[in-house]
Structure formats: structure tokens, C-alpha cells
Subunit: 342 residues, 3 copies
């Protein structure tokens, strides 16, 4: 529990109203009750007067007759305040008696390793990291400080994970890339001898899969957020602070720059490049070896600038009119010719 004033101090905002009000939780404007912090931007500002929230984070507008905190970016401030008010409830530090931790493993201070977890030889787990039950940390893998590995995460041998990383249930990192060569009779497996490397402050959604590099590394840079059920192939590289929505697949050796935004169910074939700040719309398909520059959103399969796609769709919508006009031209021209032949 914090006071409105304490929250204002945290987010660098200015209290208007009662700074001593106590805040227990966060909520939406519609469903907030006493003790709740909410936020409002844009059209939702109309609800600031009627919400039952005890305090609302708002931008610098005409002040309403209620307790608010005025702040430049209410949604960002809300996220910060919510993190502070409602830290995730995590298991206590300690290694569960059933966990199997190899004797040479380096464990930082205050690690929590849940029941039936395995940490194989040569691995290391940084201070403050929590591994929920059923985690598997392969030989030589390293996990940094203050990470959370939810139940049943699997890290293949040699995987490296930075600090403050969140891996949701069922995530698999470092699995074999999909590399085969057909010898005329059968597919021969190309050994996958690289590694997967995950930076700091990364979050990866449930049951997502990241393959390790074939010969070199698969790299997820700092601050990258990857949603549920995504697939990243071998040698993929994702730049700092990029965001990848659910069920997107990125095939081998493709790279995504920093601060790029990739929609859901996008398919990026192999050896592609999405530039820094590139924007790829949901369900896009990017064919092999193509590049997506920044500056405008791409959409469709094969992906093209959204404005080109829209222009093309406009022409397609005109097709019935075009067909009619062609028929009219034909009739008029035939009539004219008949008349001249008379």
C-alpha cells in the first residue's frame, strides 16, 4: 500500500487533490473501486469524473474536481506504479529438496529453485533468480540475475540468458535448428552446434521456441519482448527493444533490427532483414532474402509498404466499374462503327 503522494514521487508527477489517500491496487477506469489507481488518456479522459478509482493518472489538462496525479505519460506512469504496487508473488529463496543441482553449478545469492528442477553441470544461476518447478537448465547454460523462469522452461545446453529476463511456462530455448540436406535418398541432419543467447530485460511468452545457432549464435538482444508461441529459427538475431507478437515465426539467419515492431502470426522467411524501427503488420509474409526498411509499415504477403497495398486494393475494388466501362466502350464503339458503315 502506498499513498497518492508516494506514487506521484515515483512517477515524477504532481498531485492534485488528496496526496494522503491510500492506494492498494490498480484497475481500469470502468471497474476501479476504492483504493484503486487508474489512468486516462485520449477519449478515456471523459471518464475521469465518474470512475470510482481513488486516483487517476492524467496528462496536463484542465484539472477535474477529484484526486489525480498529473504526469506527462499516464500509461507509462501507470505501468511503473503498477510494478511498484503489485510486484509478482514469487517463491521464497532456497533450493527445493527435490531439485537436482549439479555439484559444480554456480548459484547466486537468494536464488529460488523449485521442486523437480534440474540444473546440469557447468551451469550458473545468478542472484535473485527464481526457477519455478520443473525447470530444466542444460549443461553449461547460464542464467543471469533476477530472472523468473515459470514452470517447465527448458534451456538446452550452452544457452545464455541475461539479467531480469522473464520466461513463461513451457518456453524452450536452444533447441536444434531445422537443418537437413537431402542426399538423394534421405534428409541428413546438419548438426546444430551453435548456441542461443538472450540479453537482459527480455520477456518470452508461453510455449515459445528459440532454436540455437547452427554454427554460430541465435541472439535475442536486450529488452526484446516475444509473445506466446513464437518460433525463432537458428542464427536469427533480434535487436534491442524490439517487440514480436504472438505466433510469429522467423526462419533461419534472418535479422530484425532494434526497436522494430512485428505483428502477430507474421512469417519471416530465411535470410531476411527488418531494419531498425521497422514495422511489420500482422500475418505479413516476408519472402526469403527480402528487406523491410523503416519509415512505413509493411503489410501483406509478400509484404509491401502498407500504402502501396492500400492503393492496389483500391484498384481491385474498382474492377467491377472498370469491367462495366469496358463493356460500355465496346458497345458504343461497335455502334459508332456500324453507323459509319451505313
Amino acid at each position: 500500500m502506498k499513498t497518492v503522494q508516494e506514487i506521484a514521487d515515483l512517477v515524477g508527477g504532481r498531485v492534485h487533490g488528496d496526496g494522503a489517500l491510500e492506494i492498494q491496487t490498480v484497475g481500469s477506469l470502468e471497474r476501479a473501486t476504492h483504493g484503486t489507481l487508474a489512468y486516462a488518456e485520449g477519449k478515456h479522459l471523459a471518464m475521469v469524473g465518474s470512475t470510482e478509482a481513488s486516483c487517476v493518472l492524467i496528462p496536463d489538462i484542465e484539472l477535474p474536481a477529484r484526486t489525480v496525479i498529473v504526469v506527462a505519460k499516464p500509461r507509462v506512469a501507470f505501468a511503473r506504479a503498477a510494478q511498484w504496487l503489485l510486484p509478482p508473488r514469487l517463491p521464497a529463496a532456497g533450493v527445493h529438496e527435490t531439485a537436482l543441482v549439479a555439484s559444480d553449478v554456480t548459484l547466486g545469492a537468494n536464488v529460488s529453485i523449485g521442486a523437480w528442477s534440474i540444473v546440469e553441470p557447468g551451469a550458473s544461476i545468478g542472484p535473485g533468480t527464481v526457477i519455478f518447478p520443473g525447470g530444466y537448465v542444460g549443461a553449461g547454460a547460464t542464467v543471469g540475475a533476477d530472472c523468473i523462469l515459470y514452470p517447465r522452461v527448458v534451456l538446452y545446453p550452452g544457452t545464455t540468458v541475461g539479467d531480469r529476463v522473464i520466461l513463461h511456462a513451457g518456453v524452450v530455448i536452444g533447441s536444434d535448428g531445422f537443418g537437413f540436406v537431402f542426399d538423394g535418398e534421405r534428409q541428413i541432419k546438419v548438426p546444430q552446434v551453435g548456441r542461443a543467447q538472450v540479453g537482459d530485460d527480455v520477456e518470452i511468452g508461453a510455449n515459445a521456441c528459440i532454436d540455437r545457432g547452427a554454427l554460430d549464435e541465435t541472439i535475442i538482444a536486450d529488452g526484446v519482448k516475444i509473445d506466446n508461441l513464437c518460433h525463432l529459427g537458428h542464427n536469427v538475431r533480434i535487436g534491442d527493444h524490439s517487440v514480436i507478437s504472438a505466433q510469429t515465426g522467423i526462419a533461419g539467419s534472418s535479422t530484425v533490427g532494434r526497436e522494430a515492431v512485428i505483428g502477430g502470426q507474421v512469417g519471416i522467411a530465411d535470410y531476411c532483414r527488418v531494419d531498425d524501427h521497422g514495422i511489420v503488420g500482422a500475418q505479413c509474409g516476408i519472402p526469403s532474402r527480402k528487406r523491410v526498411p523503416a519509415g512505413q509499415p509493411f503489410w501483406g504477403t509478400p509484404a509491401r509498404p502498407l500504402k502501396d497495398i492500400k492503393k492496389q486494393r483500391g484498384y481491385i475494388h474498382r474492377l467491377p466499374r472498370m469491367a462495366n466501362e469496358i463493356a460500355r466502350l465496346r458497345a458504343e464503339l461497335d455502334a459508332l462503327k456500324a453507323k459509319l458503315d451505313e
Copy 2:
């Protein structure tokens, strides 16, 4: 083992032939053998005379010279009879000695909790429910009666699951939604403090992922069936008895009404609405904030009524002819002008 007459009584059908024949199993018309129950509808009725099945469920047609059960909906009756003849083989009741069940957990009668399962504090498990090995039921989660959780299901804290729910291996329910806000330098995590709520008679396929609400609830209503590897984002709501095929993704805050049918690999962006009885074809893409009304199937990306898509495709197929006709018009018009200029 049941007799033909017993099965007819169960499904409300009428025996023609030998009601005392014994039925052990169910099968397809093509591969059925002695002791097998099959069913036939439509064109498959031609096989009723030749199948080796001991009994066939058929609609009210001219009766063949063999043992059949006449019933209004043979496929529905077959499903019911098969459930009765072949109940799933489930582990015996009891809590495995290796399972970790917190001391304050409420366990119903005849629950079965498999090896290396965890039921965290404050959780409750209804009577007759089976948790296969490796299940994880988070703090405060509730599972109703007569559910089956196949191996390695993960329920995050606070998740609620109704009665007679089937969750296949690797299902994750209640994971964090994908909520971040960019502060200009990095993505700030928006705490996900809602819950996921699953109704009665729901079935969810292997490795599917359902995120919990950001502030409120993600809701899967009664009777919903969700196939393998689907993704449902935070605050999604699915109405009663809707069916969602494999690998479909539904982004945050979208709603699907009751008795809707969603094909495989569909992508529904955020804040969309599929109405009650809506039909969305496979691989459809529904852009943000769009609505799919009922009454006709939708298809394509962006999704539109199937008949509009078909009409448009018809025009696109006519393009070569249109181009030719334009070229002919040009030639004829030029010839005419030349002639008139003479």
C-alpha cells in the same frame, strides 16, 4: 461391452435386426470388424451393406438387410455411444506420494493427482478430477469436478477452471498478457493483474496458451472447444459452445460470441468482435477493432464476407480478358480515327 439394444436405448434409436449382438468398440465403416459399431450418413450410406461392422447407426431410410440402429442424427448418436463404450482410461484416484499439495488445498472426493504435480497454497481441486503427472496448479487456482489435466498442464495463480474440463498436455493458462509501453528508451512491462477463467465442459488442445486478463478477466465460457497451439491474449472473451481450430490467435480484448466457429490459423487482432454464430474461415485475418457479423462466413485478410471475396476473385480472374479487350478497343478506335482522318 454393450448390446445393440442397450446402445439404441442410450441414443434413443430403434433397432432393426439383432438387438442382442454384442458391441465392444467403435470404428469406421471401411475398417470395422466384428463387434464394432459404425455410423453412416449421406454418401457413406452406400457402404452400409458391405461393412463388417456388427451394427451401423443410420438415419431413417429404407432398411438394409443387416443389424442397424435407426436414429435422427447418426453422428451425434455415434459420439454418445462411443463415449459410453470407450471411456478414457484414467489413473486411479489418490494423491501420488511425490505430489506436492499445499496443506490448505481443498481436494474433492476421488481426485487423482499424479506424480510430481504441484498444487500451491489456496488452490482447490474438485471431486473426480484427474491431474496427470507434472501438473502445476498455481496459488489460489481452482479446478472444478471431473476434469482431466493431461501431463504438464500449467495453471498460473488465480486461474479458475469449471467442471468436466479437458486440458491437453502442455496447456498453459493464465500466463502474463503481452502488455508493454514504450517510454522512449525501452519497453516497460504493464503488470498483468487479472485472471483467466474457464467455464464448464471446455476442452483445450495441446500446448495452447491462454493469457490472463491485464486488469480484469480472460473468459472462456461453457462448452468452448479450442484446438492445439491456439493463443488467446489478455481480456479475450469466448462465448458458450464456440469452436476454435488449431493455431488460431486472438489478440487482447477481442470477443467471440456464442456458437461461433473459427477456422485454423485465424488471426484476430485486438478489440475485435465476432458475433454469436459468426463463422470465420481458416487463415482469416481480422484487423484491429473490426466486427464479424453472423449470417455468412467470412474469409481472407482483411476478412470479408466469403461471397464478396468470391466475386472479387472472379473479377481478378477476368483480368487477362479485360486487358485484351482494352487492347482491342484501342486498336479499333485508332483505326477508326485514322479512317476518319483520311
Copy 3:
């Protein structure tokens, strides 16, 4: 560690240079160092002179002034050599003390069964097979010889797996197919009483899901390679040595012939057929009951021969010019008519 000559003998190649050089590992031309074997084909042959690799596998070209092995198919030879040089590091044989193996299970010689694995009654595990921690082998399931099941693989009861099969972390095989029939009020589950059958030399990627047959079998034939997060529905059949890329879904009762190549994120609806050697491009959608013949790649949704799609796209790109030409024809024709009316 092997010598260049030993590797040449293995792959059937011819040494040019120093056959006694020692090779420890494999790598890419760009990043290879001393002791590394690389390979070069096509445009990469330009790098053979400058790589620091100790030996390069090359095709029969003009010989460079360095140690190489000349071989018909360098990439195939590289895969073979890499398998030999870098066998996967696997756990030692033995059944971990925490594993629960039913008393009637048949275990081959030298099996390795990891911690907290379960092998249910009636199952059998072939010689040399490794089950990583947390594996679940259901009742009556059989796993052949020399397989690798990475952590947390789940085989439902009755599943059969051939020899030398690799199943990555989180794979689920034999889950219930998605079979329901609507009785007017609710979806009735159609019991799924078939099996899933996986041939020899199959590899299946992380978190992929294969449902068992409804009444009969789901069949993955020998040598098939399936990438991460794929979904195969009930009664699907995949022919020998076919390759299916990540996140592809194949719905119930569809068949894929032998040596077919299916791209990533492909959706194949139910009752389809991809012929032997068929090629289906990434993100293709194949509607229900359609057939993809061999001989040319298919692409798009609905999938059609790539050359038809390209031709159609060409016409669509011409639309602006067509519209302009129609407008010109209109103007000229109107002018002509006006002139004649004078």
C-alpha cells in the same frame, strides 16, 4: 578429433594438401578458426582462399593452394562429417532413481531414463534410447532404438515411435484429435480411439503437437522432419522423407506424400492431398479436399501453381495502367462521337 584424411575417407572424398591435419570442430567459412572443418559451394567458393578453417570441403573445381577435401556434394559431406565429429552429448545409460518405470515395461540395453520421467504399464523403450528428464511415455506406448526424447516430451497411451527418432522439448504426440459434433445445443466430443505412429529417423521440433487418429491411425512415415510448433490433426499421414517447416498446421485426414516439402506457417485443411514430391510455399492455405500435384511449387491462399500466381500478380500490377487506358479510350471515343455529331 579426426584427421583430414579420416574425414575424407568417411565422406568418400579426395584430400588435396595435408591429410594429417587435425580437425576438432566444424564452422562457417567466415568464423572458422584453426582445427575447423568448413565447406563451400557456389558463390561461397570465393572465400575458400581466405578462410582460417584448417580444411574445406569443396566440389571438383580448380584446386586452391590450401588443404581441401574434394567431394561431389560438399554440404552433404559436411553434415556427415559434423555428425561424426560432434555427436550430441547425451546422458549416460541408466534409469534415474526418481524415474517411475512400471514393472512390466520392456527396457532395451543401455537406455537412459532421466529424472522424473514416467514410463507407464505396457510400454517399451528400445536399446540406446535416451529420455531426458520429465518425459512421459503413456501406457502401451513403444519407443524404438537409439531415440532421443528431450525434456518434457509427452507420448499419449498407445503411441508408437520408430528407431533413431529425435523429439525435441515439449513435443506432444497422440493427443486427442479435434472431433466434436453439435447436437443443436452443445458440442459432443467424438471419442478419439485411434493411435499415433511415428516411423524411423523422424525428427520433430520443440512444442509440436501430433494428434492420434480418431478411429484409425495418424502416421508419420520414415525420415520425416517436422519443425517447431507444427500441428498435425487426427488421421493425418505424412510420407517418407517429407519436410514440414515451422508452425505449419495440417488438419484431419489430410495426406502428404513422400519427399514433399512444406514451407512454414502453411495451413492444410482437412481431407487434402499433397502428392509425392509436392512443394507448398510458406503461408500457403490449401482449402478442404484440394489436391496439390507435384511438378511445380504451389503458393498463396487458396494455393495455386506459383507461375499462375505470378501471372495474376502481373495483371494486378498493370491495373493502374489499365484504368488510365480506359479513361483515355473514354475521352477519345466521346470526342470522336461529338465530332461526328457536329
